[in-house]
């Protein structure tokens, strides 16, 4: 079962990013990952936890 959702980074402002998750936009903290616009991250509760290689689903 999934523990995190995959999100695409749409925009970055310092340690926060606007991401798209399941078609919805959301602001998350990205302090713990090194990412750029267009990258994918695994996120939960408004935090990016890990970089995802691509939009390969949730985990």
């Amino acid at each position: 079962m999934c523990i995190t959702k995959t999100a695409k980074i749409i925009a970055i402002n310092k340690n926060k990013a606007i991401v798209e998750i399941d078609g919805k936009k959301e602001e998350i903290r990205i302090d713990l990952v090194d990412v750029g616009v267009g990258d994918y991250v695994y996120c939960a509760s408004g935090m990016a936890l890990e970089v995802a290689s691509d939009n390969n689903g949730n985990r």
């Binding site: 079962m1 999934c2 523990i3 302090d31 713990l32 939960a44 509760s45 408004g46 935090m47 936890l49």
Partner: protein
């Protein structure tokens, strides 16, 4: 972000009570959780990086440490997360996952009303005392799921 060696036990005391959700999701085996509970209970060395299975709690502690200007997670950060931020994070997780009881997952301060057969009772709820074998009637305690995490002032 890493956690201070001396703060790992406290992190596990707060986090292990909700490991049942990870077991239910198939992320970890119950046997491993039982072994970790024994490690904490007997004050044995906790396996390397065991706390990182609690990805959300560990990330949230890491962010609090960053915001506090700290290079590692220490006991003050662990308590700040579980006593002040955890329930808010849990509410968001419930919206995302919906596979656990958010009310059971609250971290609460209460009073141990009686101790009986190794369990502490608060009202009708019964709590394990593995992490606080010294708990007494009338002690102020912190609860999480079915565990007393620690006593408090």
């Amino acid at each position: 972000m890493e956690i201070d060696e001396n703060s790992r036990t406290l992190f596990m005391k707060y986090a292990l009570p909700c490991a049942g959700t990870l077991v239910k999701r198939g992320n970890v085996r119950q046997q491993y959780i039982d072994e970790l509970i024994e490690c904490v209970k007997l004050n044995k060395k906790i396996p390397k990086d065991a706390e990182k299975m609690f990805k959300v709690a560990f990330a949230a502690c890491s962010l609090i440490a960053i915001d506090s200007g700290k290079k590692t997670i220490d006991e003050s950060i662990v308590r700040k997360y579980f006593l002040s931020k955890h329930d808010e994070v849990i509410d968001k997780r419930y919206v995302e996952m919906g596979d656990f009881n958010p009310d059971m997952c609250r971290v609460r301060k209460c009073i141990a009303e009686r101790i009986e057969n190794g369990f502490a009772f608060v009202g009708k709820r019964r709590f394990r005392t593995d992490f606080v074998p010294y708990v007494k009637n009338g002690d102020n305690v912190i609860t999480h799921w079915d565990f007393i995490v620690e006593t408090s002032e």
